[in-house]
Symmetry: C2
Subunit: 351 residues, 2 copies
């Protein structure tokens, strides 16, 4: 996988959407010999182009961009929107906010196609995708290495059939949105220990495991299972170059393996995140979430104010089950440590 | 762990309750150099004694017995029982059954204490427990090696404090009942990749990983994560010596990584099992399950008839997420294969 990606180590920094993957983070990871990745899904095409160029100004090593499959959220009823907003108003009061006249809109139709054109035009070396399958023609023609995200054996086989260069397997341990696209979400919630061997027996393309990997022990385990590489998200959230807000960092530092839950209530689509007061309130309201990504956009003002004012309990704290092992170090130092620990774990196993 | 258990390999055959762990299975596993284990929880004390003696007649190697923490199910209302039985009557009609005048009773109070006395009197070499913590005095005084089951870091630390000799970590991939006893079940559903490193950093006793392990790749991965041993359940369900009924075997052979779900609807307590028509029917009824183990006992006649008549869709098909890798071999052959594959995986990693 390292050869395929053009990196020194078979380690990918997960392309987390939501402002975490600053050019500084991505470049530091790539400069250290792993694959830095821009979580580009929520960026308007020209903002994505700027992020790519800003990254390229900081590294001449390969890096990646990740996009979602096109989203076509159904329009929710006014009643549904009002019910959620009514619930959220309580938290706004605590933050000194009033309900905004308009909530941010989801990306307009055609956004993914425009983002893909940017990735192709900018000749981004590695393109990865999740939440389904976007049209791959432009990035392929531009020569990008293409990685697709799967959560089941069937999804991995499907992606191989579509010609991806490698499959990123998202184990149930992973933080962030579930990439499941062919079966109900709970059926696509499979732990890495079980998922990797069953997939590598069925596909010929290399497999990269994501989910719960935080150090060299996890990397060595992924290799033992048959993966050829690993993707780490939560481990990079606490790096100094990451765009993670201070209260989010505080929550990560206090969380443990049993602190997270998979919930659709904070974005409209199942995602693993640290349990918070905000989640508990939406849960106990019994309200159905608005379709992804509208539920998250409905509370965007709350998240922004909570990040600024320092309230982790009102943030959307995406994190994986390995969160208890997060460390506060520069990204380059983390990559070097991961590589050294992996060597150490493999030596320990050998002897 | 092998030294602690007195076995050649650090491999434990999971003590699955429900008629799977015949003396032939347990003895074959122990004779091959792993730890065979009797799932004794649902056996009346004297039946357990017979099972122990029958096993001992077939092996002079160490083996284990597993029991549950004492259960004190609340008595459900007659209405709740009638509602469930009304739902089940449809399936009885298909099987040519009528609703039994009385459903089987749960073990009477004092059962666990009596079972523990049997384990102590029979000098069973290894005692393991799950679903909480039973009184450990008698088995400890009898010199048994004691293994407790944990699903979170906190539970593992608690068991270490109680003086267990090793902790069996049940990852979310595992088939069967969730052993979670200190937090809500969903918080105790942690994948092995994330769970093992976080636990071994906090406890000094050896850790045995259970969940999703089906071959040498999984064993090597568990060792890489920091576990000293592994426990496999589903892998032994398809062994020729196992008490698994024919239609259950057929369902296991057809299942894959995404075939299972964690549900409380078939026993009253969350357990990972293959999704079936029976589960779907209970789910869509919206009925709350009776308290564990009453929900399972309420459908015991259906399970028995379905096993005999060959209907897997009406069975309680406990299985882990590794089920797609199950093989039909004698248990001794499986143990030898697991040991050889582990060596092979470790050699591959080293080179």
């Amino acid at each position: 996988v390292a050869k395929l990606l053009g990196t020194r180590y078979p380690i990918v920094q997960a392309p987390m959407a939501g402002g975490f993957t600053t050019p500084e983070l991505v470049a530091a990871v790539s400069n250290a010999g792993a694959l830095g990745s821009i979580g580009g899904a929520m960026l308007p095409p020209e903002t994505l182009r700027e992020a790519i160029r800003a990254t390229r100004a900081l590294t001449d090593r390969p890096f990646g961009v990740n996009l979602f499959a096109p989203l076509e959220p159904e329009r929710p009823s006014e009643e549904a929107v009002d019910a959620i907003q009514g619930l959220l108003d309580r938290f706004r009061a605590d933050l000194g906010l009033v309900r905004p006249a308009e909530v941010p809109s989801p990306p307009p139709p055609g956004t993914v196609e425009a983002q893909l054109a940017v990735v192709a035009e900018e000749r981004v070396p590695v393109f990865s995708f999740t939440l389904g399958v976007p049209p791959l023609g432009p990035v392929r023609e531009a020569g990008a290495v293409v990685l697709g995200t799967a959560t089941t054996v069937g999804e991995a086989v499907e992606l191989e059939g579509l010609g991806v260069d490698a499959v990123v397997l998202q184990g149930s341990e992973a933080g962030g949105h579930r990439g499941t696209f062919r079966v109900p979400f709970d059926q696509g919630s499979i732990g890495g220990m079980a998922l990797v061997p069953q997939v590598v027996d069925q596909v010929d393309v290399p497999v990269v495991l994501a989910g719960g990997i935080m150090d060299g022990r996890g990397i060595a385990a992924a290799l033992a299972l048959g993966a050829e590489g690993v993707q780490l998200g939560t481990a990079f959230l606490t790096c100094s170059e990451s765009g993670t807000p201070a209260p989010y960092r505080q929550a990560l530092a206090e969380a443990g393996a049993d602190s997270t839950a998979v919930t659709a209530l904070l974005s409209g689509r199942p995602a693993r995140a640290i349990r918070t007061e905000l989640l508990a309130a939406v849960e106990s309201s019994g309200l159905e979430p608005l379709p992804f990504p509208l539920q998250g956009l409905a509370m965007a003002d709350i998240r922004a104010a909570a990040a600024q004012q320092g309230y982790p309990e009102l943030l959307f704290l995406l994190a994986g089950q390995g969160v208890g092992l997060a460390r506060r170090v520069p990204a380059g130092e983390l990559v070097e440590a991961l590589a050294a620990e992996t060597e150490q774990a493999l030596r320990r196993l050998a002897g």
